[in-house]
Amino acid sequence: MDQLQLREIEFRCIQEEQPFCTASCPLHVDVRAFMAGLAKGDLREARRVLDRTMPFPEIIGRLCDQPCYPFCKRGEIGDPLATARLERFCVTNSTTVLKLPKLPAKGGSVAIIGSGLSGMTAALDLGRKGRKATLITTAPSLGGTLRSYPETDLPQETLSQAATLLESYGVALQLAAPLDRESIAALTTKYDAVYFDCDEIGPDLLPFATDPLDPLTLNLPHEGYFAGGGIVAGTPFSVIKQVEDGRRAALTIERYLQKVSLTAQREMEGACTTRMYTVTTGMPHLAQIIPADPAIGYTAIEAQQEAGRCIHCECMECVKQCVYLREYKEYPKTLIRKIYNNQAIVQGTHNANRMINACSLCGQCTTICPHDFPVADVCRATRQEMVRTNHMPPSAHDFALEDMRFSLSPFCTLSRHQPGTERSRYVFYPGCQLAGSAPEAVKSTYQYLTDQLQGGVALILDCCGIPAHWAGEEKLFAETMEDFRAKIERLGNPTVITACSSCLSIFQKFAPEIQATSLWQVLDTLDLPVHPDLLPRQTLTIHDPCTTRHQDELQASVRNLCHKLGLNIVENRFSGKMTDCCGYGGLMQYANPQLGAKAAVVKAERSDHDGLAYCAMCRDNLAAAGNRVAHLLDYIFPVFEAQEPLDRNNPGFSQRHENRARLQQQLLTTLWREPSTPEPEHKKIRLLLAQEVLDLLNSRHILEEDVQKVIHQASRTSKYLINPNNGHRLASYKPVRVTYWVEYQPTDQGYEIYNGYSHRMLLPEEKP
């Protein structure tokens, strides 16, 4: 990802866009922060917000015509916020908190003719920038139209305060100056730039016509002359318009004096549009707080209540749903910046590695995002880059990739035409996780498909390679796909029927030339075996796997199947396109096991009902998180003596290995009458494992087979430690990259296992 790509992608995230109030305010007052201050009862904090943006808070805070009002999102769920009234409350009950600095003098002299609010604002802004500004008026005091406001609306004292403020920034005030057309014309030649405040200076006094006035720069047709303020024909006098014009003119004049472009990059000046996206659905309606005495305005309590109605507009739509973004406290824009910075590190710690590897790549955020922010694509591409540049932490995906290699090993794979046939119209591809989780379901399904479908149904036990794809291991993934293509070709290009939606998504994307469909869509066309007595009475909620997010037909078939079977199912708000990942996607549960577990809890909690999954990993992860959840195949091909499908345990990593290997063995010997690959010696070692030891080994990613290898090695070499106090043995072995340690004791029934742990650091005698 280069900087240009970064900018392009991060632009899609609108979390940092201005809220609707700030965007519609020509001064861009941070109304959100103002409301937050008031809602806390922190008047000083609220006042600081006004002081930062408003030129004369004492005046504008009392007279603001709140152009933000119709844009306030609170209006969708109640009344818009009474911002003007709250500003008045704030400025009448506080004094200046923040005085903006005056920049060093820069030269250039500017005359501001007319002392309405626009002229005052221009003078103040220029004075702050270090320009020598002279404010000239025929009037005895400042304010223009402001002088006509009743004392209750605007105490005249505020105007004299404004004069003091202007003088503190070095603005020269020439009050009661005799001005006519000739004297104005003469005056202007003495200054580098001149601003006419039309609130006080009518067209009759100007030395030349004000048409055309450039609305962006307020530049008159004569170089160095600018004009603004006053009334726009047909509209009432607007205080905010005076301030906006004064500010705009000051910026133009500053640019004019600097001899830089007067027009470049001024789109966001003044009221502007915003791409902010805020959903108010589900928020409670709240009406505006009306002051008990409207003439006095809000009391402190009323103001706090009114400001408390602000919903603090932001987007965060993806973050609200995504456990990963919440865990790392990022929204897509900050996430991608962290990723970019992580990749830019040459020497030092890559702190974001784990974060990059923990995304489930499920795409829910992209579906939610109004601008399709591609978090998954960025994370996956970054992982690929890490692998290519040798920066992928070896431990990040090792366990998952070893699991994949085992599924692809001669102990688990199988590719055969239907027994007794040499042609296949179809091939059933259950996927590695169904074979690992529910081998009996694979057998029944295959049996059923061979009975029901004409033209031969081959069987492939294999792994589609998605773990390598998720891990950024492009080479390994490409090899796996190549191998898959070759197998399909050798079978005569049958239509692939997958039970796993991840496999299906991979085949559709990376081998589009191969016909592939889901088991569910095929079953939907066949007569189903129905077992009404074995169905659960209660309603189940469907947990769609995240890899079916864009597979509408597949999801529809699953629902058809449920109806045909007679299952009572109910949708939850996060099914279909919005579905969550169970924690397996993107190898999240390996890169960050605690987060993986949280993801399963989030998915389960989308509904109060027991669950029905049709992905083996969803089923097992939801079960591991303590939920009652069955697999759809449990109800199509029930195993009669089996335990309640909703209560089936998560088999764990070791049992999955065992199930895959045994399934291949059993199918080879029973269906094809072929010998299976002989078991390695260490597999004969019988282990006695208490549940808590098994759980510990699972959490530490230690397989029973690793334990068997350690004990086998210790028996072979007699190299192990012994504790004379209890007879326990401690031995270690490093089959590939990880050194495993096992504490055990031989007994008559087998080896009692007490503990297991591992490390990657190499001891002196070990080779990398």
């Binding site: 710690t349 431990s395 190299k719 012994i722 270690s732 340690w741 650091m761 002196p764 990398p768």
Partner: protein
Amino acid sequence: MSTFSFIEATSWQCAQCHQPLQPAKVNVSYLNSVFNVELMACPQCGFILVPEHLAVGKMLEVEQLLEDK
């Protein structure tokens, strides 16, 4: 190079040599980094003990640090 010491009293003995373990200076390595450490080992055959708390504690910490370099 400084030596990190992980010497501790232990009940483990070498089964093959029938020896109690003694402190030994050894080099452990990971991803091109080598550390000189003192661990308990069999004085006769050199079998090194990596105790559980070290493997899942300090060692893991250093492994992860090096992996993120």
